[in-house]
């Protein structure tokens, strides 16, 4: 049988399953609409905070008199509103008993994730400021949130600077002023564009793998076809071409949909489309690999799920491949997203030209999965 006839037959089989096709094309659009409508968020950590002050407690250090004149100024900075903090409460405590109560209450709020951090102004907070010596603020941050633990010192620079300005204590203040480079501008769809390099390839790979992973195992006429002179190679090739054609349409749809919803890219759109097609091709190849390996549809579905999780896990987002030993790095690079995601970041946000090494890496990976599918299919026993 001619290859073109086989491809037509394969396309006919896919077309017969109209609902799958509708889903294949509607899921990315739903995703783009969701992310396009999603606004807000911040590039840096936002904290919900509360303040306890024990500044009113008497101090017996090297101070002329007890003072608490600056505690309200510090709390006032939070009450007026800050870029990195939401204010959840202020607890001035004139006695140790009240402090203990406020501390336990805030610990409970921290445990229930109603706040991310609480600050305690110590007994000698105002006295030290009056004495022109360095003062300190204690903080208790939710240690289970590693992002919060590492970000709090930087985030506090804003309220501390405003507080020092308020009380005219600007001498020797050294502050950090960030200017973000290669970021998605705030007037663009930040959520959509920051999520694009991970989610769009993930969706393309997920849907194309799903389409292709049942193409051999659930093809009922396949055993009968093998009685005809049609070779197994032609069958695999026709399935690849048919699924790839659908994938090209899907990638094109995603591309146009994202562009209409505010895709922000500094690099070449054509090169971006090429990378998305490369991701789709690897999805089809992995799907065919699963399909040839599986004995039943359920096995194919299970393997699809496991591989989908593994592809996400080794996408380079959770584990940086550069920090791994060579053998483990090879394992990570056996999966397509580790190649695709950095290229998409470079193309969209840095405007760099296409990294040909990574792109060919994707193509080689697709070929390897395809060859493996062919070999497995060659030895697979099918009965009419």
């Amino acid at each position: 049988m001619k290859l073109s006839t086989l491809v037509r037959k394969e396309l006919g089989r896919i077309r017969a399953d109209k609902r799958s096709l509708i889903l294949l094309f509607s899921i990315p659009i739903i995703l783009i609409v969701i992310f396009g409508l999603t606004t807000g968020g911040s590039v840096t950590k936002f904290f919900n905070a509360s303040i306890i002050s024990i500044d009113e407690l008497p101090t017996y250090g090297n101070y002329p008199s007890n003072s608490s004149e600056y505690e309200d100024d510090f709390a006032g900075v939070f009450i007026k509103g800050l870029g990195s903090f939401g204010f959840q409460g202020y607890y001035p405590c004139p006695s140790k008993a009240l402090f203990l109560y406020a501390y336990e209450k805030n610990m409970e709020l921290l445990k229930n994730e109603e706040i991310d951090v609480f600050f305690v102004l110590p007994e000698d907070f105002s006295e030290r400021i009056k004495n022109q010596t360095s003062s300190y603020i204690a903080y208790f941050v939710d240690g289970s949130d590693s992002q919060a633990t590492s970000a709090i010192q930087v985030a506090m620079q804003e309220p501390i600077a405003l507080f020092r300005q308020e009380i005219e204590m600007t001498q020797n203040l050294t502050a950090l002023i960030p200017y973000l480079e290669f970021e998605v501008p705030f007037w663009e769809k930040q959520t959509l564009n920051y999520a694009f390099p991970l989610t769009i390839p993930l969706i393309i790979i997920g849907t194309t793998m799903n389409l292709a992973c049942l193409s051999i195992v659930s093809d009922e006429p396949l055993p009968r076809m093998l009685i005809t002179p049609t070779s197994k190679g032609s069958i695999i090739l026709s399935k690849l071409i048919a699924n790839a054609l659908i994938m090209v349409l899907q990638a094109g749809e995603i591309f146009i949909g994202t562009a209409l919803f505010g895709l922000y890219t500094l690099g070449s759109l054509f090169e971006l489309l090429l990378v998305l097609l490369g991701v789709g091709l690897s999805g089809v190849s992995i799907g065919l690999f699963i399909s040839s390996l599986s004995g039943t549809e359920q096995q194919a579905n299970q393997l699809y799920m496991i591989l989908f999780v593994v592809i996400l896990l080794f996408s380079g987002v959770y584990i940086d491949p550069e920090g791994l030993p060579t053998i483990m790095r090879i394992i990570v690079y056996l999966f397509p997203l580790a190649h695709a995601i950095p290229v998409i970041y470079d193309l969209t946000l840095k405007g760099l030209p296409l990294d040909l090494m990574a792109f060919f890496g994707l193509l080689i990976l697709s070929s390897v999965y395809l060859i493996l599918s062919y070999i497995i299919f060659l030895f697979k026993k099918v009965e009419v």
Binding site: A138, T296, E297, G323, K350
Partner: protein, 388 residues
Amino acid sequence: MVKKEFRLIRTDPWNLVIALLLPPGIIILLSSMEQEKVTFSPLPVAIVSNDSKTYINPNNFTKIPVDNYAKPYIDAVIKSFYLFPKAIYNTSKYPYAMEFARRQLLHSEIKCIIVIPVDFTEMLVNGLPGLIECIPDSSRITDIQSNLNAVYDSIRIFTNENNLTPQVNLIPNPALANIIPEINPFSIPQDYNEGFNSTLVIILPLMVFGIANVLTILIIVKEKPIPRLLLTPVKRKEILFAKFLTFSIILFFQELGIILASIFGGLFLRGSIIDLFLAIYMIGYSGLSVGTFISSVSKTKTEANQLFLASFVIMILLSGSFVPIESMPIYLQAISYVLPLSHGGPMIQSILTKGASIFGFHFYMLLGVSLILNILTLIIFYRRRYEV
């Protein structure tokens, strides 16, 4: 009936092998990767100093040599454990320094440019704030905060070493007022792998839910003996109950394998292991409930597969893993909180790091959603028409 279900599963043993052995295998692989990976490498930066050694008085145009703070700041960057100054440019000598540095940033040779402004020293000498400009590579949203944190470390060293007082310092978790001891709330101890814990919080719900879901999407729709069984005295609810019981037992062993692999892999657990097991089991059970529901509403295997794909992708996208649920429009938040995957991560996280009890909002939401789906499955299965 349960024996019959197990016999049916035994006809496809590989299916069971995939469900029971591959998830713990993936966890062990993840654990070994997390243990082998380089935990920390300093941030490569370029410093561009515009702070000249001369101050020109605007009143009488006399030149005064001033260089009190630019070099000490550069020394602080060099001393910082978190920073690696890959290049140091003085714009008095290299007028195109900023251009070089930006090119390095573009090609990822450095992750941040630190600029010392022209009036840095003068401002500090005159009792005004000294501002350090920092230009981080912001193409990866997840790296922005850590880059800023690393640069801030140099400012901390700079102010401490140059006796720039008074400062308002931040002290984490100290003992206070002779009442509370020094504590570090909910943090993961240093001898445990924080990366393994945080990755597992994301991956576990996805894997457990997904596998349970995919394991059950075909259990009603593809089973050929059901119409014949209905000719016998067996009731529909018994058939369905047998399926639930069988797959719940499989789920039990699957979750047991996952828990053992996680603990063996070095998972830090502050809460009770029973709570963790119940949490993972509940996530799996919700996957099983969604899968059985899909199987009962589908007329063909293809339809079941389609529904599975559509529901799974939407659940992942709205789970809060990619976009925080709070950032979504209110109607999407409402949908998101009904979907099981949105509850898995927070529930596991609170048990692992805060020692919280499983019986909270997320557990009851999962239980509620699962029970509603179970009832709907039963109703649909009762109304389903079968012909021998």
